[in-house]
Assembly symmetry: C2
Homo-oligomer: 345 residues x 2
């Protein structure tokens, strides 16, 4: 963006800013009765259950604006929340977006951010119904709340897996972590010598995993059209190991996972080798994949073989067996969570 095309946020004021940022949002759901511009949004539901989830994204903690285009950031901010709604086997219907911004942001920069929000809403049939805009002393702060709906007999918790259930994961895992590794490496090189331009050649796949994750609406639709209800489900935000342990812990079960079954994309595997990393470790412990991980009654196995986007990676056991990982060589290792911990020093 050239500086000649810069509008100061202060020249608009909060209300005109919100008006500007939200004027292009169309309503997708008949249930959206009242949206941005009042104290609160009104949503109509009849005989459906409302699902609500919220995430806080903070610059320097969750994202780095040095390598995250604002449009992608807007898109991803919505995706991480929709992913939580899908993880309930629910359909997202509305979101609210609050932002805290410092003066270094121009209106054009926020336009870009909201373009990403808009694209995400459009793709997933979701309405932006509210939010809050504030200044921040330092850094960009984003808080998104998503609301969805589900029939009372269809929502899926984490705590209801059964012994013998298959453990399944959608898509591929580990790619976002490798994308982050690449970006951090290139950032470091650039900071040491700004004359060296980032080398992202051939790494579109892992960069895409990091910057433009896609919440798995398709999987939820596949469940609905094939009469599948997982026994337990969550989304993969902190890494497969960590999430499997949550499912086991909350369902009071153990598990067995197979290394050879982990769905690792060929491009991610190559990138891992290039960076001197073990692809399996990236898949188990890398976060931000926003895939769905779920358990399924063995009797439903035939139904999921129809979908190439679903991999069976193990099964649930009695709790006494603990959390076991079987390597390609046939060795058994205990699974430990090395996922994201916000407060690790």
């Amino acid at each position: 963006m050239s500086e000649t095309n810069r509008t100061e946020i202060s020249s608009l004021g909060e209300f005109r800013l919100i008006e500007r940022l939200t004027k292009n949002f169309e309503i997708h759901n008949a249930s959206t009765i009242l949206t941005v511009g009042d104290d609160a949004a009104v949503i109509d539901h009849f005989g459906k259950q409302t699902v609500v989830t919220t995430d806080l994204l903070i610059e320097g903690i969750h994202f780095d604006l040095m390598y995250t285009p604002l449009k992608h950031l807007g898109y991803k901010s919505v995706m991480v929340n929709l992913s939580d709604i899908y993880a309930m086997n629910a359909v997202p219907t509305q979101i609210t977006v609050s932002i805290g911004i410092s003066n270094r942001f121009s209106v054009e920069a926020l336009d870009e951010f909201y373009e990403g929000i808009y694209a995400a809403c459009e793709k997933h049939g979701v309405d932006l119904v509210g939010g809050d805009t504030s200044s921040s002393q330092k850094g960009f702060i984003i808080s998104v709340t998503a609301i969805g709906e589900v029939s009372p007999d269809r929502f899926v918790k984490r705590s209801t897996a059964k012994k013998g259930d298959l453990i399944c994961v959608s898509g591929h895992v580990g790619g976002a972590f490798l994308g982050l590794t690449l970006m951090e490496r290139e950032k470091k090189i650039y900071l040491e010598n700004p004359a060296i331009q980032p080398d992202l050649e051939g790494e579109d796949y892992i960069v895409g995993c990091l910057l433009k994750p896609e919440a798995r609406k398709d999987i939820i639709e596949f469940f609905a059209s094939n009469e599948i209800i997982p026994t337990a489900m969550m989304d993969v935000s902190d890494g497969v190991s960590s999430e499997v342990m949550h499912l086991c812990h909350q369902s009071n079960l153990g598990c067995v996972l197979y290394e050879e079954k982990l769905p690792i994309h060929e491009a991610a595997r190559k990138a891992a080798y290039k960076f001197g990393l073990d692809p399996t470790v990236c898949a188990l412990n890398g976060g931000e994949d926003y895939e769905l991980i779920f358990t399924l009654a063995q009797s439903d196995y035939d139904k999921i073989t129809l979908n190439e986007e679903i991999a069976v990676i193990g099964y649930m056991t009695e709790p006494e067996k603990g959390y076991q990982f079987i390597s390609k060589g046939g060795n058994t290792h205990p699974i430990t969570a090395q996922g994201w911990n916000a407060f690790e020093s």
Copy 2:
């Protein structure tokens, strides 16, 4: 808090921290099907409309921890959101709370914060159903989303006031701004000379307005039991002038306000004189009162005279008359918004 009683957040980890912070929350509403501990919360509604609102509170922008006890901050963070729900003539039922915190916070400090959240939920019959906990690089960040319900025929927008309607406000206005003025003054004195202890003697009222606002559940209950539906309503967060102008603008009307009708508490008036401020200016332009401002058909006037907590401060006019303020001396001034503007430089 003594340092001997300090538990590092890192010693708990995110999930145990959330567990610890939320374990004392009881469920108030039969509609709360699933709460903290899963990807999202599930809320059941039948034939009612869901109302959702969200606010972002950032340290250094919205609050100053030098004079804001964490328990009060927790309480207020909930109140500012419930106030938005009441402003729709709706009843709050659930909230989500997300926080971003730096390492300088101990678990005990967060306990205090959540004690305030808990007290607010308890008092207003609201369930905490979710949230997100994150580290922040700098400062304390709070994002609250509140959900409420209302019958489809009872919700009240900002845009539906009619010409001739009475403009009413609940409680008293201007106190929170005076509380802030006092606290900022004492903070400045303390920073210049830490030996001087803050002098809040006799200023309980304005300090309470700032630190412990109370969302006006009672007014909404009064409306319900007296078959009153305001024609338009919002809450007073940015000052009476600013809010009246919103009601006028969105309803395409003008207004007349009377200085002598503004409900200013005697303690606030005294404090204003002490600080060399005009109480009327504080009432019009000071924010954070979290009172309700609403318009009412003149035919409902008799009903509200029953409630001493409601003051009629003016009436709506045709738009051509603009926004008029009649001083005690009988002079007419135009009303201008000098309320909060997040992006003023």
